[in-house]
Amino acid sequence: MKKILFGLFAVVSIGLLVWAFELAVNAPAEMMQGDAYRIIFYHVPSAMVAFLFFAISMAGSIGFLVLREKSLAKALAWDAWAVSGAQVGIVFCTVVLITGPLWGYRAWGIWWAWDARLTTTLLLWLIYVSYLLTRRFAAGPQMRTSSAVLGIFGGIGVPIVYVANRIPGQHPGPVFGGDRASGMDPVILRPFLWNIAAWMCWGILVLILRHQFELKQQAIAAHEAEQSLNA
């Protein structure tokens, strides 16, 4: 039953992505930026998904730290969400960090500026890369604890990145909830919202796959530990 539901969700997600792509490429061209503004349909939703998954990673890290001495099985379940959220979040954050300069070069004439939003996003990405490197190379039982602490620091970075574009700089201010000049034309808003929905579904799909993979990894590690104890 779970497999059927997952299959249905996968079909809906891919269908949504195709539909959202169709809307993105057929949206009317923007007066100042021409075709290049359409990068917004991939850049901004990817940032939203990355932020959400980093928050999931932080929740997983907190859960692991709280439960690690009470119930190891439950703590490991939280840890699986923490590592899955961090890894898939990095994938989306990488998309943001590559599509951003491509768009920036056409809009500003430069690839990169060390303004608050861009710099904090890069720092957030580096924190989560160090999270994954800790998990990959740190040895011993403290590996999960150390990475959970890093995961919490990364999660604290998300709201800082979110508000960073309120500091005047190269990156434009908030499109929603900003000053009077903020907002989006309804003709562009519709494909934008569809792209957010599509990338959110795709992200959740990849996150579920990564979580299943992590659970299997944990089962293999537990089985190997059991075997070596019996030997």
Binding site: V88, T94, I98, T99
Partner: protein, 88 residues
């Protein structure tokens, strides 16, 4: 078999990445700044439209290269996992 399929799937993101780079490399150069003095806004927009298009194509192709590349990497690791004996 599963591993071979996953390895073949890894070719798609590589192809997308090459497409993105080709799109940027083959984009026409930006018209010199002093040309703007002698052309209308419409003429300028027409000149830069292929460059904007190339950057948009590159951004979309890179996005899919990263997403599908990650999925292919995950599939390869998944297919390489040892089966757990006595468990479903």
């Amino acid at each position: 078999m599963k591993k071979a399929v996953a390895q073949f799937a890894a070719l798609v993101p590589i192809a997308l990445l090459i497409w993105a780079l080709y799109s940027l490399y083959s984009a026409p150069a930006e018209p010199p700044a002093d040309w703007r003095l002698h052309m209308t806004q419409e003429q300028h927009d027409l000149m830069v439209a292929p460059i904007d298009h190339a950057f948009r194509v590159a951004a979309y192709a890179v996005t899919w290269a990263i997403q599908l590349g990650y999925l292919a990497w995950l599939a390869m690791r998944w297919s390489g996992q040892k089966p757990v004996a006595g468990r479903k």
